[in-house]
Symmetry: C2
Subunit: 144 residues, 2 copies
DNA sequence: AACCTTTACTTGTTTTTTGCAAGTAAAAAC
DNA sequence: GTTTTTACTTGCAAAAAACAAGTAAAGGTT
């Protein structure tokens, strides 16, 4: 899978890597919902197709957004962890959360949660990033 | 054009509205590059096709991201202005700029500009938003 | 040891979206 | 009155996504 880069405008570049229907939703599952396996992603309510999921995971690993590791307790299962390139997307995705919650009349985000998130935005971002970094480090020893 | 909403997760919702290959690039042109007309958008280096541009502009107007107005000095030309729903995307797009500039080895963004943007992020965001709001207001009197 | 389940995919086909080339139509300029 | 500008539309080809089904290996169950 080759990703065509339309230009070196930073917004365009980001969209070329991640601006399809599913890549950012997989990253959302990992970064904000503690999901890590193929089956976890399949179970998400947006219902990604198996072939699309497989091809997106492959691309995200190839492009260093995700790191794929065997579950040491179950040789047939793999876990996907956020690499630094993905962890650095947390500020942008946080702004998407704020925007989406503000303009979706039927948003799943509770009002008080949103309010807290907006006032303590930096804290929320840094806390989420620290969480992902420690997850990544704690599994450093695993193979694959 | 009907937009299917996959879920009311705010990230998913945002992507359902804007997560195609071109919508956010049109908004970038308006929000960050002072572009406002059909011809301006066609001239962008990413080379959108005319039919796609027309259909995206229609959708963005229908969904209240953009306001379409006649050029009062040239009856055949239209201008597209960012509505509040688009102006509120500036924080998210700013994070995309920062991310894209950081991870694209060949980014068009100069290092010192990026550094200034990161340290004075809030100021950059608010300045860009204020600019767009005044543009919108100053054209309030135009018809269409 | 044989069978069933879990897990992570792949394959083949249909549908939807995008891309490309050309054409239209009305206002404006010359 | 002819050409140019501006904003599109149309028709067809190519690419991407969606859907349904199948594969294959590891693990668990009897």
């Amino acid at each position: 899978m080759k990703t065509e880069i339309r230009s070196h405008c930073p917004i365009s570049y980001t969209l070329d890597l991640l601006g399809d229907k599913w890549s950012l939703l997989i990253l959302r599952d990992i970064l904000f919902k503690s999901k890590n396996s193929y089956q976890d992603f399949l179970d998400s309510e947006e219902r990604i197709a198996t072939n699309i999921l497989a091809s997106r995971l492959k691309k995200l690993v190839e492009q260093d957004f995700l790191i794929k590791k065997r579950n040491p307790n179950n040789k047939k299962q793999f876990f996907y962890f956020a690499a630094p390139k993905a962890i650095e997307l947390i500020p942008a995705l946080t702004e998407f959360i704020i925007w989406g919650a503000k303009f979706d009349q039927h948003t799943a985000v509770p009002k008080d949660f949103l309010l807290k998130m907006e006032t303590d935005k930096l804290q929320f971002v840094e806390h989420t990033q620290a969480q992902q970094k420690s997850l990544l480090n704690s599994n450093d020893s695993y193979s694959d």
